[in-house]
Symmetry: C2
Subunit: 223 residues, 2 copies
């Protein structure tokens, strides 16, 4: 016990946001070796005394300017990646978090060029971050179908079309408009706000809001 040496403990954030109706993920350019100049997920060391969430919050603030409390609607633990050789400097485990928001503003002090990339067109990535993003995306897709998690990626009010495009952006496929509306409506996932959005040379769109803006599960069946 006295000679116990733990692996390095790191945290990484996979921060998703919709931009122009496409799903984007936040990356930054590494300032130092290893992988200097390459794109990577925001992350860093988790020292003793700090929870993983606290560590990630601190790191995101410094490296990207994101204030997790005010700008991320959801920040939930995803998975711990622990391949012994994932970091060339030596054994480091990474606790990955999924972060979602709808109007994330960037620009930190010690900023490392934080940039949102569309998930279907990512640059070459450092470490095993391609795997981590793939894992996070799959998780997000599952959650989108089974929960109200999309509240975290849309503004407080939105049109039905915006909602559908959000689903499509996350699922990376198209949905039938009429069936989609019926389904969402009888899940009682959203409600009308009474407002409309007039925009452009066409019929104005009703504005909706999520009924619940905290995590909520669509229940499973089984007699």
């Amino acid at each position: 016990m006295s000679v116990y040496v733990p692996p390095t403990v790191t945290v990484d954030g996979i921060i998703f946001q919709l931009i122009s109706d496409k799903l984007h993920v936040l990356l930054l350019q590494r300032a130092r070796d290893p992988f200097k100049g390459e794109w990577a997920l925001p992350g860093g060391y988790n020292p003793r005394g700090e929870t993983t969430r606290q560590a990630l919050s601190r790191i995101l603030k410094v490296k990207t300017g994101i204030d997790t409390d005010s700008q991320l609607e959801i920040l939930e633990q995803l998975h711990t990646f622990d391949d012994v050789s994932r970091d060339p400097r030596g054994h480091a485990i990474a606790i990955a978090y999924l972060g979602l928001g709808y109007d994330i503003r960037l620009g930190g002090e010690e900023t490392q060029n934080p940039t949102f990339f569309p998930v279907d067109n990512l640059p070459k990535l450092a470490y095993d971050h391609d795997e981590i993003i793939a894992y996070a995306l799959k998780h997000l897709q599952t959650k989108v179908v089974q929960t109200n998690i999309l509240y975290a990626m849309l503004p407080p009010s939105f049109t039905f079309t915006q909602l559908q495009m959000a689903y499509e952006a996350v699922l990376l496929r198209t949905l039938d408009k009429r069936n989609f509306r019926k389904r969402i409506m009888n899940l009682e996932l959203i409600k009308e706000t009474g407002q409309v959005e007039k925009q452009g040379a066409h019929r104005p769109a009703k504005l909706f809001a999520f009924v619940h803006t905290t995590p909520w599960e669509i229940e499973d069946t089984l007699s």
Copy 2:
């Protein structure tokens, strides 16, 4: 970076098994302080150079006699628990694994009285292990409905009644026999083996086997 001190890294196993048609979880009695004499999940330190899975495998072998490769059909990472105060000795994070098997034999070298307890009647537990078990159970319940994960908790062939009792044991509620059979059948989750089990003063039961004995997801809908 040179003064970076990581938290202690530990791993814990939540090993479930069905015994007499009830869901049980493996606990052992702590040999040392803290919590000496109390019941706890099997677990221990994860040193640098060992993956979490390797560490847990090693620890389970020593403390419970379980050979993870041959006795656990599933051993999958669950969640990382990282409250700063969860260990009275100082900041220690625990990577928890869910383990499932159907004929787990106990008895290690340095054994600490490993015992399967029914999940609805657990003793007082050390650390935050009650929370961890609750988390694992909820996860298992979700998986049971959405995947074929129960293959890991049943022998290679079994009767339909055994299968239903397994579902009921995990979900902690009863299911309708006819509807259950219909549902399982048209999911094509299991197939007849052609064998029957003659046992007791009643009609013999057909024996079934899972179609897939590797993880498999029941797909979600969404037009």
